[in-house]
């Protein structure tokens, strides 16, 4: 039998455990990406020229190379510079760095979308530069880019499958492990695809809803 329903059913607990790991990698990576991306976006819009150039070359390098290469590179690089951490954290860091580059661009666009007049008004009212960023610019910037950040999270859930190449037991790896034992790739790949959809579709719907609601707020 090409499609083995029994095997599909029996592998569910393992695959769902893997899905949890995938979600954790994506969530932690997204968190790093959000924090790092915000800092980098602020640097890119406020810092001196040299720093701006460094940040934009960082984003150019990260966005211009495949994530698979970045993860394997980290896997080899970290121990050679004396950092010994489990493969899970290597994946989180690699995906976080990758996400930082993408998110920083998104947030930068959000920052630039805040009207110049508001910032000038804040200065006139006596707010310091930091206060202006903290209370005027960032809240609005983050709100505009929230849907894009959600999309980034969905992308990261799928990208976390790349952690399988360095031996992290996330969803794809759990699946390939079962395939290596039962050699029935079709059945298992169907279940894996189903679980990925189970994670990504509700998220996408939630983002769409959020986007609509925000649109309503803004237009009123």
């Amino acid at each position: 039998m090409i499609i083995d329903f029994n095997l599909m059913y029996e592998s569910l607990p393992y695959l769902f455990r893997g899905a949890l790991v995938s979600l954790s990698i994506a969530a932690l990576g997204c968190l790093i990406g959000f924090i790092g991306g915000t800092i980098f976006a602020l640097l890119q819009t406020n810092a001196v020229r040299v720093v701006r150039m460094l940040v934009s070359s960082f984003t150019a390098i990260v966005r211009g190379t495949p994530m698979l290469i970045q993860i394997t590179f980290m896997f080899i690089l970290l121990p050679t510079i004396g950092i010994y951490i489990p493969a899970f954290w290597v994946a989180v860091i690699a995906i976080g760095i990758n996400s930082t580059a993408y998110v920083s661009n998104v947030i930068r666009a959000g920052i630039l979308s805040v009207a110049r007049g508001q910032i000038e008004a804040a200065y006139t009212l006596g707010l310091t530069r930091l206060q202006t960023i903290r209370y005027i610019v960032l809240p609005q910037a983050v709100r505009t880019v929230l849907p894009s950040l959600g999309n980034e999270f969905v992308t990261l859930i799928k990208d976390s499958s790349l952690a399988s190449v360095i031996g992290v037991y996330e969803l794809t790896k759990e699946g390939s492990f079962i395939i290596s034992r039962h050699l029935n790739s079709i059945s298992i790949y169907i279940v894996i695809a189903g679980i990925y959809l189970l994670m990504t579709i509700p998220l996408t719907l939630a983002i769409n809803y959020l986007e609509k609601r925000m649109h309503r707020h803004v237009s009123h």
Partner: protein, 255 residues
């Protein structure tokens, strides 16, 4: 009136389409012609199946080429990921798997194994020369690398070792061992040998694990039982007339 006739036309076109779509899969499994031997391999497993100058070569490839020759068939080799080979054989889109496949009972349920054309290949523990692992008992305390799905993987899993790291290729495992992600790499001697013949031999050391012995055989799709018998016969012939031994020497597999 016009609208409803259009609707009827549309529905009938869809129904006809569905009918043909439904019928097609039954015939779409490409049944290879009698004179062709369609072989699936995964060319990332030297010395059994590997790539040289854009050509698939190896011990298994040499043997199956000779078999095709003796059976008077034309050989067609398809290179695909290891994990898809078995599904392809079950579907019948390939007839034979020649990819350094070792014989296991689980696999034997799904395909027909020919007489093994290579055996006597022990598992070895590969470790860094400065931090050698010499005894099987030590494995319990070590971070153990294996290649996923290989016999070594099944061996260490059955032993219930607490810390197993599974990577895709031999090269990945050697690199992970080298940079310190693990202490020892368990694999078949034949798979590690080509790497040590090339380079880095002085960096690593290895120790055979007693009472481990792998047998490699071709796997034939259950859709071709006659072919399985033919291949089986030719392999035994080739073992007797020394052809297999010749190929073993060529690929550095003879003891």
């Amino acid at each position: 009136m016009k609208q409803s006739s259009f609707l009827i036309l549309l529905v009938s076109v869809v129904l006809i389409g569905v009918y043909f779509f439904w019928r097609q899969p039954k015939r779409s499994v490409p049944m290879p012609e009698r004179q062709t031997l369609v072989v699936g391999t995964s060319s990332d497993f030297p010395p059994f199946s590997t790539r040289e100058n854009d050509q698939i070569v190896g011990f298994d490839i040499d043997v199956i080429t000779e078999i095709a020759h003796r059976l008077n068939k034309q050989l067609q080799i398809q290179d695909m990921p290891f994990e898809t080979l078995l599904s392809a054989a079950q579907l019948g889109s390939i007839q034979v798997i020649a990819a350094g496949l070792s014989m296991t009972p689980e696999r034997a349920q799904q395909i027909l194994f020919a007489h093994p054309h290579y055996s006597g290949d022990p598992l070895v523990m590969v470790s860094l020369r400065q931090k050698p692992v010499t005894s099987v008992d030590e494995l319990v305390h070590q971070r153990v690398l294996v290649n996923e799905g290989y016999v070594a993987d099944i061996y260490v899993t059955t032993k219930g070792l607490p810390h197993i790291i599974r990577l895709k290729t031999v090269a990945d495992a050697l690199l992970a061992l080298q940079v310190g992600h693990a202490d020892v790499f368990v694999t078949a001697y034949s798979t590690i040998k080509p790497f040590f013949d090339q380079k880095d031999a002085d960096l690593f050391t290895y120790q055979a694990i007693p009472d481990t012995d792998e047998a490699y055989a071709f796997a034939i799709s259950k859709k071709y039982p006659e072919l399985a018998r033919d291949i089986d016969r030719v392999i035994q012939q080739m073992i007797q007339d020394g052809t297999i031994e010749q190929f073993k020497k060529k690929w550095g597999l003879s003891a």
